[in-house]
Symmetry: C2
Subunit: 250 residues, 2 copies
C-alpha cells in the first residue's frame, strides 16, 4: 500500500490562518516534508504550522530549494529522466532529491504532508516536485489542501475588495513594466507580485499613469511584521522584501 | 463603546476549510449577520459555518440580497444619502437595510461577524454594504478575515498550479467572449467566473483557439457535490451552476 501525499497550504504566516483541514491532516500524518529557501535555519512553512499545532514526534523531511531565479523560457531542455528541465543553478537536482525522498516514504506506506506557504497552487515551487512525482509514479494519490494566499491576506489586511460584479483581476510579477502598463488599461484590479526589486520603477510608472493614489503596498501580509502603505512615498528600503505585493484598484 | 465588525470568509463549502481564526471569532461574537440570495430558506454561508461550529444562542441577522445582475456602468447615479447608486432592482435598499441593521448592533456595543462565502475580497457583495458603513461611520473598526476562495479550492480540487515563476494570471467573468480571446493571448492562466450561462459559447471559442484540452471545468468546488471535468464535452446541463468556474492553463 502506497501512502498518500497531502500538499497543504499553511497560509501567509499567521498560524490562525491555517484551515481546520490542514490542522487535522497535520495531526494524522507521521511525516512532513518542508521546503527551505536557505540551507541553514528552519523552514518558514514549518514554523508557521508549529505555532498552530504541536508537531513533536513527527518525522520532518527538509527539502532545500535555493531561492534563485527560475528561467523557464530561456533554459528549457530535458534532463536524463525525460523531465522538462526548467531551472538553472542546480534547482533540478534539488527537486529530484525532494521527489525521491517523498516517493521513498510513500512507497513504505507512510502518508506524507508537503507544506507550502500561502496556497499550494499560487506560485508554489511544489509543482516542480509534482512534475517529477507524477512522471515516476503516475498513480500516486495526491490531495491538495488549499490555503490562504498572500493575495487574499493582503486584500483583507488593506480592507479592500479585489473585485465586484463583472470586474477583472490580473495577477502578475512586476518584472516587465511595459506589460504592466497594458494590463492596467484592461483590468480593474492589478496585483503585482515580487515588486521589491523594482519598487522605484513601478512607483514612477504608477505616478505617470495617475494611479499612485489607487495603489496599496502590503509588506508581509498575515505575518507579525505586516505593514500596509496607502502612500507609496512612505515605503522605505527596509520595507521591501520578497513577501510583499501591490494592489492597484482603479 | 462601538462594537467591532468582523468580515469573515467561510470558504467555498467544506466546513473544514474554515480557518482557525474564523472559528475563534465566531465563538466570541454574540451576533452574526448572514447574506441570503433567496428570501426563503437558510443562508449558505451560515450553513457552512454551522457545520464547523455550534452557533446556538447567537443572534442571527439575515440580510437578503436578491441575486440580480448589478449594473455598475450603465446605471450609476447617487442616492439620497450621497452614496453612489450601483444597482438596479431594489438592491440599494437591501444594502442600506443591512448596513443599518449592522450599525445599530455595533452602536449598542455588540461585536458583529458578517459571513461571506469564499473570501470576502473576491466578488463578495459585502463591499456594497461596506461602502454604506464607512460613509455613515468612517471610524468603524472593520476587520477582514480572509477565506479560501472558490478559485484556490478549484485549483486544489483539480490538482493544477495556477502560476509558477513569472507567469501571469487573469480572473474575469465569462461575460464578454472577445475580451476572453485577447486575455488568453497575454496570460498563462485564465480563470473564468460565472461561466454557467455562456458555457456552450465558451466551449466553442476554446475549441477554435485549440485550448479546449488545456481547460478544466470545476462545479461546486469544496462542496459535497464537487465535480471536476477535464473534458468539457462531458459537462451536462445539470452541471452548470453559479458555483462553477473554468481554469485555462496554457
Amino acid at each position: 500500500m502506497t501512502g498518500k501525499l497531502y500538499v497543504i497550504g499553511v497560509g501567509p504566516g499567521d498560524p490562525e490562518l491555517l484551515t481546520l483541514k490542514a490542522v487535522r491532516i497535520l495531526r494524522e500524518v507521521p511525516c512532513i516534508c518542508v521546503p527551505k529557501g536557505k540551507e541553514e535555519g528552519q523552514s518558514l512553512a514549518l514554523s508557521i504550522a508549529q505555532k498552530a499545532i504541536n508537531l513533536d514526534g513527527k518525522e520532518i523531511l527538509e527539502a532545500y530549494f535555493p531561492m534563485v531565479k527560475t528561467r523557464e523560457s530561456q533554459e528549457s531542455g530535458v534532463n536524463s529522466q525525460g523531465i522538462k528541465k526548467i531551472s538553472v543553478n542546480g534547482l533540478d537536482e534539488k527537486w529530484d532529491e525532494a521527489a525521491d525522498a517523498i516517493l521513498n516514504k510513500l512507497k513504505s506506506g507512510t502518508d506524507v504532508a508537503f507544506l507550502t506557504i500561502g496556497d499550494p497552487t499560487i506560485y508554489s515551487t511544489f509543482f516542480y516536485v509534482h512534475e517529477r512525482l507524477v512522471k515516476v509514479s503516475p498513480c500516486l494519490q495526491i490531495v491538495f489542501i488549499p490555503g490562504i494566499s498572500s493575495i487574499n491576506a493582503s486584500a483583507a489586511a488593506a480592507g479592500t475588495s479585489l473585485s465586484l460584479a463583472d470586474e477583472k483581476i490580473a495577477i502578475l510579477p512586476a518584472t516587465y513594466i511595459e506589460d504592466i502598463k497594458d494590463t492596467l488599461k484592461e483590468f480593474d484590479t492589478v496585483i503585482l507580485m515580487k515588486v521589491h526589486r523594482v519598487f522605484s520603477k513601478i512607483r514612477s510608472a504608477l505616478r505617470e499613469l495617475a494611479l499612485i493614489e489607487k495603489t496599496i503596498y502590503i509588506s508581509r501580509a498575515g505575518m507579525d511584521e505586516e505593514k500596509i502603505f496607502k502612500n507609496l512615498d512612505d515605503v522605505k528600503d527596509e520595507d521591501l522584501n520578497y513577501f510583499s505585493l501591490m494592489i492597484i484598484r482603479k
